[in-house]
Amino acid sequence: MDISVATPKALPRSLFRSDATQRILAFTALIVLIVVFSLASPNFLQFNNIIGILLATAVNGVLALGVTFVIITGGIDLSIGTVMTFSAVMTGVFITFWQLPIPVGLIGGIATGAFAGFINGVVIAKMKIPPFIATLGMMYVAKGLSLVISNLKPIYFNDTPEFRQIVMGSALGSIFPQAQVLQIPNAVLFLFGAALIASFILGRTILGRYTFALGSNEEATRLSGVNVARWKIAVYALGGTFAGLGGVMMASRLNSAQPALGQGYELDAIAAVVIGGTSLSGGEGTIMGTIIGAFVMSVLVNGLRILSVPQEWQTVVTGAIVILAVYLDILRRRKS
């Protein structure tokens, strides 16, 4: 009877279940990219170039961690790029203008991002404005505030040379001065540290659980007695916190807060999240996938640059990759 038809269909379904598919795919793509670029150019696997890739991934990766939470709830956050900049500018205000101690400046910068995210959450959950519009508004508000506060000029951290060491110094390198491999900047440690924390929050805490629940079936979550608005606000605030961390890292790396920077970073972060297998329709996603996605993006850009592909074309390729990733997500969804 139909059994011959049913069995082969049932097999791949159980093998390729849930979000694992795209994560494996993204990981394979990352390996393929690395192999292709290292064959194409001997410079690709040079130590300095690898450090360059890691540094380039650090900020985008941290931003993408926050966006992962937001997208799992079925929402979107377009403001993280300029919120990142806003946080950097505020860090400059705290440390350079007000001459507060560096740790206070760092916490102040991160708190700025968290606050912007909190406002996003309130606007979305309480005023019921769709995430796309609410965060688009915040994108402009944060951008404008950065320009106003900095008076359109970069804020430098020249009085506090230690500030730059936060991200660009190498804690591991100073502990093991002999080991050349360990001379990696702290920014990389920040990225993996933040990823571990994000992974813990997503997998083991109440906030992570509700992040999935909201994206899976918001109405059912509400009917189960969960205070949906409160947790949504928490998710956007968390996204803002990661943007704040990204802003501090960016400021440290550039030794300055550049108020005109930032717009466009949100799209890189969203792209990393989607490439990593987090579904834009909500309910599924992983931190591991996002980190892989962030590396796919930066390896691609780096490799194309080494092969002397003009920057304009790098942008075109990035865009095409994002569309491909979303299309794969849709295909996967349609099958089930």
Binding site: D2, A213, N217, A220, S224
Partner: protein, 519 residues
């Protein structure tokens, strides 16, 4: 009187266009199973949603364990010990069974923010063992059958130590064996003193399980009787009250034998398997089956709303390729979705705009300017012929009653020159009185030579309206009955005739969630 758990009296509730509850009352005692019956739209679910905190009543009193309470949220109800299992399952498909059951009150570790997943899974295992359910707490809910998902909902409700458990049509998607299992659980709860409200429209069930029966009709309380002191006929009399339906339709066997639509070997993934049927001019073809049987999917496939894997569609004998709804409209097929508010009407616009929307091209004059006097004339004509009750053509559609909204959708498709009309649950959410008007309209349309497919979950509706009945179960057509031979029992037999061998190694798609995934 001390054993009275809940008393509801003078309950009023209105929605835009519908007076859902008017002066309703209800009483639930400790350790009783109280069946709440009535036709669709009688207000049973609304009444219980007021008790469960889903809806807020407009006026009236709810007394729980001797104290007047005001329940505004589902959480407030749960904390009082009142849980409701909704007709449409309320689960998070991406989460596991255990995560679903403990959503909102997860056991934490000593650090309050951190979940104790071991405790969640262990507690769930205990709960499932208590109910003799063989489900792994770590299974994702999306991977369970609809019946198992329902059991998860029950386990969830019980985990609240509820004293009041409300079940809204719990058996709609269950097999006989699963229903027995459910009743076993309900009886055990009764021994423990839980008050159970059992909403149903299957009369045979209430005699098996209930102690008392309350009947509602048209949003009003009719009466409460002890199950042992009543019988089926009395309850039906209370439910119907007056003759609402017309007699069985005079079936126009008017010699029109040409097959307007024929579907051959239609397949779509795991949702539709080998669908074959035809539809004649002037015929009303009923599609019966349980929730998730694939009836709506057949309609959507024919209408080009979902892609098909294989199969052929013939219209007036000619093979056609329908790839999108606009193709379908060109071939004269109209689909009236079960969810009119979402897919059938633009609620914020007025009557006139809605009526002409589907056939806008017809009303365009020189340079694409809309000919307003012609749209007004046409809208006016259809409002009169279909006797749509509206104060004016400029009335916003959201202010019309459900029945009149449904007629408006019909008008829309008639103007678009459709010959084949597919009605998906045409009377869902419509006041009982307005139903008979919809039935009359369907009959009139068939008389005029339109071919009609009517998908309905209400067996009396299917039996009264259809010339022929096709019954589906789990994506297959399991039976076809002529109106002469059809009975509720025969339809139910076909509707529960599951695939057998296929089941063994290939779990059925939980229909409720495969939809969610596609959004």
């Amino acid at each position: 009187m001390s054993d009275v758990l809940v008393t509801m009296e003078g309950i009023e509730k209105s929605f835009p266009g519908v007076h859902a509850l008017s002066q309703c009352q209800f009483e639930l005692r400790k350790g009783e199973v109280h069946a709440l019956v009535g036709e669709n739209g009688a207000g049973k679910s609304t009444m219980m949603k007021v008790l469960a905190g889903v809806y807020t009543k407009d006026s009236g009193r709810v007394i729980y364990k001797g104290k007047e309470v005001d329940i505004h949220t589902p959480r407030a109800a749960q904390l009082l010990g009142i849980s409701m299992i909704h007709q449409e399952l309320n689960l998070m498909p991406h989460l596991t069974v255990a995560q679903n059951i403990f959503i909102g009150r997860e056991p934490r570790q000593s650090v309050k923010f951190v979940l104790d997943d071991k405790a969640i899974n262990d507690n769930t295992q205990q709960l499932l063992d208590m109910l003799h359910l063989k489900i792994d707490p770590r299974t994702k809910v999306a991977d369970l059958t609809v019946a198992k998902q329902q059991m998860v909902e029950i386990a969830k409700a019980l985990s609240f130590n509820s004293e009041v458990l409300i079940m809204d049509e719990p058996t709609a998607a269950l097999t006989e064996a699963e229903i027995d299992e459910l009743f076993r659980i309900i009886r055990r709860l009764r021994e423990q003193g839980v008050g159970t409200v059992y909403i149903t429209h299957r009369l045979e069930e209430l005699f098996m399980i209930s102690d008392r029966v309350t009947v509602m009709r048209d949003g009003q309380y009719v009466g409460t009787v002890n199950t042992t002191e009543t019988n089926r006929d009395e309850i039906i009399r209370m439910m119907v009250g007056r003759t609402i339906y017309e007699a069985a339709p005079d079936i126009p066997q008017n010699g029109q034998q040409d097959k307007l639509l024929e579907v051959k070997n239609l397949n779509r993934g795991r949702v539709l398997k080998d669908i074959n049927f035809y539809l004649k001019r002037g015929e009303i073809l009923g599609f019966a089956g349980l929730m998730g049987a694939g009836r709506t999917e057949v309609a959507r496939a024919i209408f080009g709303a979902d892609p098909i894997d294989s199969g052929e569609i013939y219209i007036q004998g000619k093979k056609v390729h329908i790839k999108s709804p606009s193709d379908a409209v060109r071939y004269g097929i109209g689909y009236l979705s079960e969810d009119r508010k979402r897919y059938g009407l633009t609620l914020g616009m007025d009557v006139e705009a809605n009526v002409v929307l589907a056939a806008f091209k017809k009303f365009l004059g020189f340079l694409g300017v809309v000919n307003n006097s012609r749209t007004r004339m046409t809208a006016d004509e259809f409002v009169r012929t279909l006797s749509i009750k509206t104060p004016s053509l400029k009335q916003k559609v959201k202010n019309l009653s459900g029945g009149n909204q449904q007629k408006l959708v019909v008008a829309k498709w008639l103007i678009a020159d459709t010959d084949i009309l597919i009605f998906d649950e045409p009377t869902r959410g419509i006041d009982v009185g307005a139903k008979s008007e919809i039935y009359k309209l369907l009959n009139d349309l068939a008389h005029q030579g339109k071919a009609i497919i009517m998908i309905s979950s209400e067996l009396p509706e299917i039996l009264r309206m259809s010339h022929r009945i096709i019954v589906m179960c789990e994506g297959r057509i399991t039976g076809e009955l002529s109106s002469a031979e059809a009975t509720q029992e025969k339809i139910m037999k076909y509707a529960t005739e599951r695939g057998g061998i296929i089941q063994a190694d290939d779990a059925p798609v939980p229909a409720a969630y495969s939809e969610v995934g596609n959004v």
